[in-house]
């Protein structure tokens, strides 16, 4: 099943193919926001293949991120690997 991890939006350009960056666990990753013109710095994005496919506020993203952490904690045999 696909896993969608929200990542914080660091900056967004303007224009028809706006580029920007998201914070992926402390690492700045380039991303295209053409599909999400409503993207705002400080909000969070779901990114696939370098494209932000949707955005959400920090509170909504926090619930998802808490869930990933909770599942990892609940399942001692599960490892969540970021930036490997």
């Amino acid at each position: 099943m696909c896993i969608a991890v929200p990542v914080r939006i660091l900056d967004v350009d303007e224009g028809k193919m706006p580029m920007g960056h998201v914070d992926h666990d402390g690492v700045s990753v380039s991303c295209c926001f053409a599909y999400t013109p409503q993207a705002q710095v400080g909000h969070y994005a779901i990114v696939q293949n370098g494209f932000a496919i949707d955005v959400m506020d920090a509170e909504t993203a926090a619930k998802s991120l808490e869930l990933f952490a909770e599942i990892a904690a609940m399942n001692e045999n599960t490892e969540l690997h970021v930036n490997e």
Binding site: I3, P6, T78, H81
Partner: protein, 417 residues
Amino acid sequence: MTQRIELGQIIDAAPARVVVTRDLAGSPTQAAFDLSGLPRVDSFLVGRPVLEVPKLVERLCGICPVAHHLAGMRALEALAGIDALPPTAVAVRRLLHHAGVIDIHAVGMFSTFRDEALALRRFAKAVMTAAGSPGHFPTTAVPGGVVAPADVTQLDTCHVLLTDAFSAASRIAEQSLALSAPVDRFCGVDLALTGADGRLDLFGNALRAVAADGNPVIAAATAYEWDSLIVETVPGSATPKPYLVALGADAGAYRVGPVAQLRTGQVMTPIAASLQREWRASGAGAAAARAIITVHAIEVIEDLLDSPDLIAGESSVGFPQVLPQQVGVGWVDSARGLLVHRYESDEQGRVRAATILTPTAQNEPWLGELLLQAAGAENNSEVRAGMEEAIREADPCLPCSSAPAGTMDLVVDSVVG
């Protein structure tokens, strides 16, 4: 056994990996797409309150949250023995589901049809907002119904955006019908949801299966029959290789998704029905099928927008506080095809076992066949081009599927066996 979820693969486009098995003469005998980037979350759900499962899965699989939201609610209602919902709940859920289908298909169309995809996206978001889900994660349905009827003001916005969305989808469909596609040599069964009349219904309650020769294998099965219909060869695996019990493991391989949807049932909306006839006659592939299903979803929404059930009426039926110890199965036919949630609850209302069977997992054997076809090409560049085309055709829910043409990061490993 430790299950590893590589979150980095989801953020950065991980390469698509294909393993081709060749005989000693170098001829390909088997090809497999690596789905290890799509872990099963079933085991994570065990022990959780069963009522929480839809919300958990929506948030984990944030790519298609609407489909998981609705399939999960249906599974809970099956657990509670609720078969019928108020007309308003059905109408609002149908609205949400078809908008979700458009939204997902629009993502895949973006690289080729940017302006059209954005028009479709605007329309889908407006419809989902009208159906009570303004954010990324849906908030429309509750066990037993929906939170509220549709928002009348937002429905006006949907009417305004409808024409642009329909024009965009029609343009994409017409252009996609002219595109070449891999020859469809799939000899398995096509599965899709239908209404009681056997016609395609992405939010239907009946499962229909049609053999490659067009004859029905299953006319209309209900979700209650799921356990006797489909079995996973490797239960819980990322590549479970499910098959139709009636046909056995060897002959029971099946396919889901837009191609299967158009092959399985007659489309009930007029413009998409006309495009479906053209599609069947042309030999066009999945790109055109996706566009035609998008047209169909817009037509369904257009009809729903005028339904009085959408804006007034009872929103839900009572839902029991204590769920019986039994199995509940819920499904929807999502953008990528049949999505199934199966929950088994214990005496405390917690998950004893759960199965989330995604379209990508179900289509893995079909994708393997397409890749094997491509592996037989004469030179490496043709092999790579054919494999890229095969992956786009089967459309696994991975970043590689939406890469612009010619840019897919593809790694092909060959083994002798």
